[in-house]
């Protein structure tokens, strides 16, 4: 049986898709059979971030409507062979997704994969609800910013009331906090919420902290999940996050302003790798 993990946030643009791509790739690199599903029907983007946009043939809606088989819609990653991607439809709207359809897909994928990652759309409407409905675990992506923290709290409430586990009164969805776009320099200057504050407010276990990094834009430009960039601090932080998820005890790096480059770099504007 596969573990179903939803990557969710409530708020838009906080890094769910970046995280889904990196985390799925990271799990697959650790030899876990992993599939990542784009639930953002109508606004598909995971294919671009994963760099498979030229190879999309069928999508999740085609499968639900019986126009294609699941294995025809899955795109195998060419870099990590234990990784597959199920794209969202670009032309239809979220009503094309049904609970029964999604359930069938997840049941079928469960036979073949170890992990099923669901990249949720923003909001708390149908698409987001379906993305989290079958989850066993949730990665709640949060930026150090008031509206993001509030929306994360809201989505935690939804996980506890509207997920299948909640409805079935089973053990609740396992929640993980992932703080992304963390800028230690700004935190130090008191311009950004501290990690401790976010943790205290949301009160769920911390899985990782991903620093703000210029390499994320480079990764999306090239269609290469940032975890494949060994130079990137964000990529390294995602690697640690995957390790921690798999039970390793790893310290959180990148919590302090980069000292590298020293005075010169500070004077001339340090770049965040």
């Amino acid at each position: 049986m596969a573990e179903v993990i939803v990557v969710t946030s409530g708020k838009g643009g906080v890094g769910k898709t970046t995280t889904s791509a990196a985390f799925a790739t990271g799990l697959a690199q650790r030899n876990k059979k992993t599939v990542v599903i784009d639930f953002d029907v109508g606004l598909r983007n995971l294919d671009l971030i994963m760099g498979v946009e030229r190879r999309v043939v069928f999508d999740i809606v085609n499968v639900i409507q019986g126009e294609a088989r699941l294995n025809q819609a899955l795109i195998r990653d060419k870099r990590v062979d234990t990784l597959s991607i199920l794209p969202a439809s670009q032309t239809r709207d979220k009503d094309a997704l049904t609970k029964e359809g999604v359930q069938q897909i997840i049941e079928e994928l469960s036979k073949e994969f170890d992990y099923i990652l669901c990249d949720s759309p923003a909001g708390i409407e149908k698409g987001a609800l379906l993305a989290l409905y079958f989850a066993d675990q949730a990665i709640v992506v949060t930026n150090p910013e008031v509206s993001s923290v509030r929306d994360s709290d809201r989505i935690l409430g939804v996980l506890q009331s509207k997920s299948k586990r909640a409805e079935d009164k089973r053990e609740k969805v396992k929640e993980h906090l992932l703080v992304t776009r963390y800028d230690p320099g700004r935190v130090e200057r008191g311009e950004m919420l501290k990690l401790d504050d976010i943790q205290e407010i949301l009160a769920i276990p911390l899985l990782g902290v991903i620093p703000e990094s210029e390499s994320v834009l480079r990764a999306s430009n090239t269609g290469m999940p940032v975890i494949l960039d060994p130079e990137s601090t964000a990529g390294q932080a995602y690697k640690d996050t995957v390790g921690r998820f798999l039970g390793e005890n790893l310290p959180h790096r990148f919590l302090d302003p980069a000292k590298k480059g020293g005075l010169f770099k500070r004077l001339f504007g340090g770049r965040t790798a």
């Binding site: 671009l48 030229r54 126009e67 088989r69 670009q90 032309t91 001339f268």
Partner: protein, 91 residues
């Protein structure tokens, strides 16, 4: 550009924005066509499988459709697995 930018641009990985532009041009060109007419791939596949099935007993589950969208040219590859001599052919 100020002279400070000269310092900043040393040891930088190759610029990726050009690649972003290229990828977008290709994917959007294809998506815009898709907006004006229905997605034909599901139907095309169903019809092709039906035609082939008139001649050989095939398993519709063993049909692989691959596309590679390019700027000047795209390719569509449909692979239909035919049963071998020892396969589920007629007796």
């Amino acid at each position: 550009m100020s002279w400070l930018d000269l310092f900043r641009s040393t040891r930088k990985p190759p610029a990726s924005a050009g690649l972003a532009r290229e990828r977008l041009q290709i994917v959007l060109a294809h998506e815009r066509i898709g907006r004006t007419r229905e997605d034909f791939l599901p139907k095309l596949q169903a019809e092709l499988v039906a035609v082939v099935a008139r001649y050989v007993a095939i398993d519709p589950g063993r049909v692989v459709v691959n596309v590679d969208r390019g700027g000047d040219m795209s390719t569509l590859a449909i692979e239909i697995e035919l049963p071998g001599a020892g396969g589920p052919a007629r007796r």
